[in-house]
């Protein structure tokens, strides 16, 4: 008898709640859940836009232009949280014959963007019968990044050589800005080397190919030494009228080692 009366009570109470309080209840519940989630996240998830467990090209990327072409450089670490998912990845993707881009942010987003831009560039090049301009590639990237900015976490540097403008470097950070620059830095490790690269440029405003390569190697190595999201090997691509030259500096031959000694 006691049991049945208890049952009756519980059946009535939720019904009453349902009528008057459902909306506010779910709203507060979601709000609390979101806040807890935010507290538990680490400091390296870019304000929660990386999904839980999503791969991040933590990264240090850079590109600089010299007389006759450009040099792109990147580290090789891909991480999920604090686990290194790949220590030998290739973050310099080819968009066209002499147009490349460095990828940082969500690995999935940047891989998808790269494929889209490759497709559009190839299409345009066939239709016009000419190699595409770096400017075109950069602006295609910008269109995609800007018009989908709510869904993407991608910072890319588009750089390459074309017959009209020679070597050019375009920085397309998160949000979809597109700025042409003599040199560009990106990724979580870039903050550690702004001083180093700015000082080098102040001393030498137009580096040669060899000086540029040395600067890229040294800067990326320094960033890898301090940023937890960067590490591994240094990949570079040197793009000129004559084509592309890819190089690798192995992790035990870095100009400045990760332990700083």
């Amino acid at each position: 008898e006691l049991l049945s009366s208890h049952k009756k009570e519980t059946q009535e109470a939720p019904h009453k709640y349902k009528q008057t309080r459902t909306h506010t209840r779910t709203h507060t519940h979601a709000h609390i859940h979101k806040k807890q989630h935010k507290i538990m996240r680490g400091s390296d998830d870019y304000d929660g836009r990386l999904k839980k467990g999503e791969l991040s090209s933590g990264t240090t990327i850079m590109a600089l232009s010299f007389e006759g072409g450009v040099i792109l450089g990147a580290d090789s670490r891909v991480s999920t949280g604090t686990y290194v998912a790949s220590r030998t990845s290739d973050k310099i993707a080819q968009l066209h014959d002499t147009i490349w881009c460095c990828r940082s942010g969500s690995a999935a987003d940047t891989q998808a963007l790269t494929e889209y831009v490759r497709h559009f560039l190839a299409q345009q090049s066939i239709e016009t019968g000419r190699p595409p301009l770096v400017k075109t590639a950069a602006h295609m990237m910008r269109r995609l990044c800007y018009e989908n900015k709510g869904f993407l976490l991608a910072g890319v540097i588009v750089a390459g050589w074309d017959p009209v403008h020679g070597g050019s470097v375009y920085n397309v950070p998160i949000g979809g800005t597109c700025i042409k620059m003599p040199y560009a830095l990106g990724g979580s490790g870039s903050g550690y080397i702004y001083g180093l690269v700015d000082a080098a440029y102040a001393e030498n405003e137009s580096p040669s190919k060899e000086e540029g390569l040395k600067l890229v190697h040294s800067s990326v190595a320094h960033a890898m030494a301090r940023d937890g999201g960067s590490g591994g090997i240094i990949r570079t691509v040197t793009v000129t009228q004559d084509g592309n030259v890819k190089q690798v500096i192995l992790g035990n031959q870095l100009p400045y080692g990760p332990s700083g000694l």
């Binding site: 220590r87 080819q94 332990s259």
Partner: protein
């Protein structure tokens, strides 16, 4: 808001509830894994010399292995300031024991298992006050009543266990399987060291917060506690992935 110095003395006074300004709510400067293995002739610990500041590799000469007394060695991961506090307290305890012994010239009573138990009580007590010392500790050494080495673990909420093989942090995922495979009760010192170096190398490859500059420390009955100077590990980058062109137009997509 005014700054305040704590009441000093023992942080283990049960009566005082910590205010928000005093307790560790989240770790800021952190060390990563510590590894420990027993071998024939002693017990050995390994740790790198990095203390990270969030994602930044800020302090590259942070010593995370320390001798507490002539028979006990501890290593810590987690918040570095809390580790320094633990060391301070344990050093004071050792000094106190020495001074209050029946004679200053007697063999001091030093015991790794007792240190381990003291740490257990401390960590659990702090956990009960919601004011943890944010560390994972490994205690290694020799105890009274046994000529076998001791190796034990204490975490920030006071969990303890002892074993022949212990690893904290990332090491518990990556190093433990390797150590389990290679462990034998009659492991020689050279083999133990090679095993720990190998595990630290793997951790450097796969842990974003690790460094290839490490320290190895051992406790033996004859020599007591010996901690090496930090040195750099060699790394191997010749795997096939490295050189192949993945992100080119005809590659598989860039990773």
């Amino acid at each position: 808001m005014s700054l305040s110095l704590g009441s000093g003395g023992s942080p283990f006074v049960a009566s005082r509830m910590p205010s928000v300004s005093e307790r560790t709510t989240r770790p800021v400067v952190t060390g990563t894994s510590v590894l420990g293995v027993k071998y024939a002739g002693g017990v050995m610990l390994a740790a790198d010399t990095l203390a990270s500041y969030g994602t930044m590799a800020k302090y590259k000469d942070a010593r995370r292995l320390s001798a507490v007394n002539s028979k006990t060695l501890i290593g810590a991961g987690g918040e570095y300031s809390d580790f320094q506090e633990i060391l301070h307290v344990l050093h004071e305890e050792t000094l106190e024991n020495k001074c209050t012994a029946d004679s200053l010239y007697d063999e001091p009573h030093e015991d790794a298992r007792e240190t381990w138990n003291l740490l257990r009580a401390v960590m659990y007590g702090r956990r009960n006050k919601m004011d943890p010392l944010w560390n994972d500790l490994i205690v290694a050494g020799y105890s009274r009543g046994s000529d076998k080495p001791f190796l034990g673990f204490v975490d920030k909420i006071g969990t303890t266990y002892e074993d022949n093989i212990i690893a904290t942090g990332f090491g518990s995922y990556l190093a433990i399987p390797l150590m389990r495979e290679k462990y034998r009760p009659d492991l020689q010192e050279g083999e133990a060291r090679a095993l720990l170096e190998d595990c630290m190398r793997i951790l450097f490859y796969r842990d974003c917060r690790a460094l290839n500059r490490i320290q190895i420390a051992k406790v033996t009955p004859e020599d007591g506690v010996l901690i090496s100077e930090p040195y750099e590990l060699d790394t191997d980058w010749t795997s096939a992935n490295v050189v192949s062109a993945q992100a080119d137009l005809d590659g598989d997509g860039g990773w």
